[in-house]
């Protein structure tokens, strides 16, 4: 009987392994329509809330004009929505852990980073879809792309790059917590102050002096400002200094730095759990 003797198993192929796991993560989306609905409802809610409830009383760049605010708002909403993608990878990996799947994957002859890469790339694809919904939502409230096509493309690239970076943070959180419930709150709780102490929704010029530098150097502000700049939208009173002069460069630096640090930490966490 050859069945028992055959060892027709080759070496680990990082790309194939990751792609199979991306496939797995995308395959579940149409089967969990509720997840897709709730994933898009939250950002839409934020748009409606800020565009129509708070918008009228928030001034940007010295004007109280509601339509100026709505155009200003969308760059912030894009950045915020992409930052909140942290929860998709943290919850996804925590769920896989709790169901014993991570353990199972670890016993397979696959490349080390492929389980997390599969998760991150799968979630990136899902969040690209969410971004598309947000763009539609933006058009509905009067937001427009006023810059060139190239600049707009760069803006979308930065948003996706930022999502990619944030998903690695989510991966580390997902592998570090003990339950799915904790993963969802631990994935999001720190993002609330981070998105509100930023230029996402309000012009930092109106914040107390000590808070302004925090808001200006905040990676989410950098991304929001960069895409406002690239889409040709109002940017508010940015003042001067490196973050307001070079938002695109700063965003790219943040994306690279966060990705480098957190992908290393997340894969190390995965290996540690393996090795202990």
């Amino acid at each position: 009987m050859t069945t028992a003797e055959s060892t027709g198993v080759g070496r680990a192929h990082p790309v194939t392994d990751s792609l199979v796991l991306v496939w797995r993560n995308l395959k579940r989306l149409p089967r969990q329509p509720d997840m897709v609905v709730y994933g898009t409802i939250q950002p839409i809610m934020f748009v409606v809330l800020f565009a129509y409830v708070f918008g009228g009383s928030i001034s940007v760049g010295g004007t109280n004009d509601a339509s100026t605010y709505r155009e200003f708002l969308m760059g912030g909403i894009f950045a915020q929505t992409m930052a909140f993608s942290v929860a998709s990878s943290s919850v996804g990996l925590a769920d896989d852990m709790s169901k014993g799947l991570i353990e199972r994957f670890r016993s397979l002859p696959i490349a080390r980073g492929s389980v997390i890469t599969g998760r991150v790339v799968g979630d990136l694809t899902f969040n690209a879809f969410v971004l598309l919904v947000m763009v539609g939502c933006g058009f509905a409230v009067g937001w427009r792309i006023r810059g060139s096509l190239w600049e707009a493309a760069l803006a979308f690239l930065i948003l996706l790059g930022f999502t990619f970076a944030m998903l690695w943070i989510g991966a580390l959180i997902g592998l570090s917590v003990r339950s799915v419930e904790v993963a969802s709150s631990a994935g999001l709780i720190w993002l609330f102050p981070l998105t509100f102490i930023s230029s996402c929704f309000v012009d930092p010029a109106y914040m107390p002096g000590w808070m302004q530098p925090i808001a200006e150097w905040n990676p989410i502000s950098a991304v929001a400002l960069a895409v406002r700049d690239l889409f040709g939208n109002p940017v508010g009173d940015t003042g001067d200094g490196f973050p307001s002069d070079h938002p695109v460069l700063l965003s790219i630096l943040y994306v690279v730095a966060i990705t480098a640090v957190f992908s290393w930490l997340a894969v190390r966490k995965y290996q540690r759990t393996t090795a202990r």
């Binding site: 003797e5 027709g8 070496r11 797995r24 395959k27 579940r28 199972r104 002859p109 393996t274």
Partner: protein, 332 residues
């Protein structure tokens, strides 16, 4: 060559006062193409042993080799040779049965058409054809376990680890799964399974290693373990407590041995050297002495008796999840 060779394996979780010695110089050797059961109560170290063998955990002391490859030194080689099915059904519930198997096939390095063909074979073998294209979350517990086991077999592993394969299953599903496991073993797979069910070890394994507190405390075939505890025993329950003394003499004459008496249960127990011949003799003696019998019979020692004799405490099949509760700690 042994398929599995474990020498002086030690593993401690935590440190200081809270530390738990999960494994304490555990030795075990499993010849190729045989089935060995690790039998023990919760927390005995069964799961820890399997996790070390499956390269999921590093031992603190000693060594573990699978088909002559050290699990700590050559984890990648070992992973290609083994299949693991754990206490939980580690399948993706959002994928269908077919998709799950295809995924595991691909991850074991099979080409896509090969993986597809192998999935079809296994679905057939595990009686999952009808449910093959439904998401696994709609499966019953028994079906999930079968799918999980099929996933472990995708790449024709030479050594298979099953960690409490039937814990939590209803009796019918358990019998079905036993059948599937026996089939695989006939194909020549080496199997190490852990169980806290004594009958499961009895039903599936060529050889049983009883473990307690991280050590192997006895090993051998089921028959060997039973004979270690002693031969067949005769048990008589008489009708009238007042006749216990007379009954003791009668049984002692027939069985030629010491007789134990349990007054509350009106029960006498002795060794039956000649098996059923002794039984007949005891009945004659009791009848001649006019002693009424409520119940009488020969009793082969069960693995429960083995466990009790070896450890001094009864094996407690408590909740499965509690076994090696350290699993979660390690995972975090």
């Amino acid at each position: 060559m042994s398929a599995i060779e474990i020498a002086g394996l030690g593993k401690t979780f935590g440190s200081g006062k809270q530390s738990v010695h999960a494994l304490d110089h555990l030795d075990l050797s499993v010849p190729e193409s045989t089935v060995t059961a690790l039998l023990g109560p919760n927390g005995a170290g069964k799961t820890t042993t399997v996790r070390i063998l499956a390269t999921l955990l590093q031992p603190d002391q000693g060594s573990a080799r699978v088909l002559d490859h050290d699990v700590a030194q050559e984890p990648d080689t070992v992973r290609r040779l083994i299949g693991l099915s754990g206490q939980f059904s580690a399948i993706d519930e959002n994928l269908t049965g077919r998709e799950n198997l295809w995924m595991f096939g691909r991850l074991y390095g099979l080409a896509s058409p090969e993986a597809r063909q192998r999935s079809a074979e296994l679905l057939d073998l595990f009686d999952l054809v009808e449910a093959a294209d439904r998401p696994a979350k709609t499966y019953s517990g028994g079906m999930k376990r079968r799918l999980d086991l099929a996933g472990a077999l995708v790449a024709h592993p030479r050594v298979l680890f099953l960690d409490e394969p039937t814990t939590g299953l209803d009796p019918k599903s358990r019998l079905e799964l036993w059948g599937v496991i026996r089939d695989r073993v006939e194909q020549g797979v080496t199997l190490l399974l852990t169980t806290q069910y004594l009958e499961e070890a009895d039903a599936l394994a060529d050889s049983i290693a009883v473990i307690d507190n991280g050590k192997v405390i006895a090993s051998g075939t089921s028959d060997e373990l039973k004979s270690d505890v002693g031969g067949e025993r005769i048990e008589v329950v008489i009708h009238d407590t007042a006749q216990l003394g007379a009954a003791r003499e009668a049984v002692a004459r027939a069985a030629e041995c010491d007789v134990e008496i349990d007054e509350r249960l009106r029960r006498l127990t002795g060794t039956a050297c000649d098996g059923s011949a002794t039984l007949v003799q005891v009945i004659r003696e009791l009848d001649a002495a006019n002693i009424g019998i409520d119940d009488i019979g020969l009793h082969r020692p069960t693995l429960d008796d083995v466990f009790l004799t070896l450890t001094g405490h009864v094996a407690e099949p408590a909740s499965a999840a509690a076994d090696d509760s350290v699993t979660q700690e390690v995972a975090s």
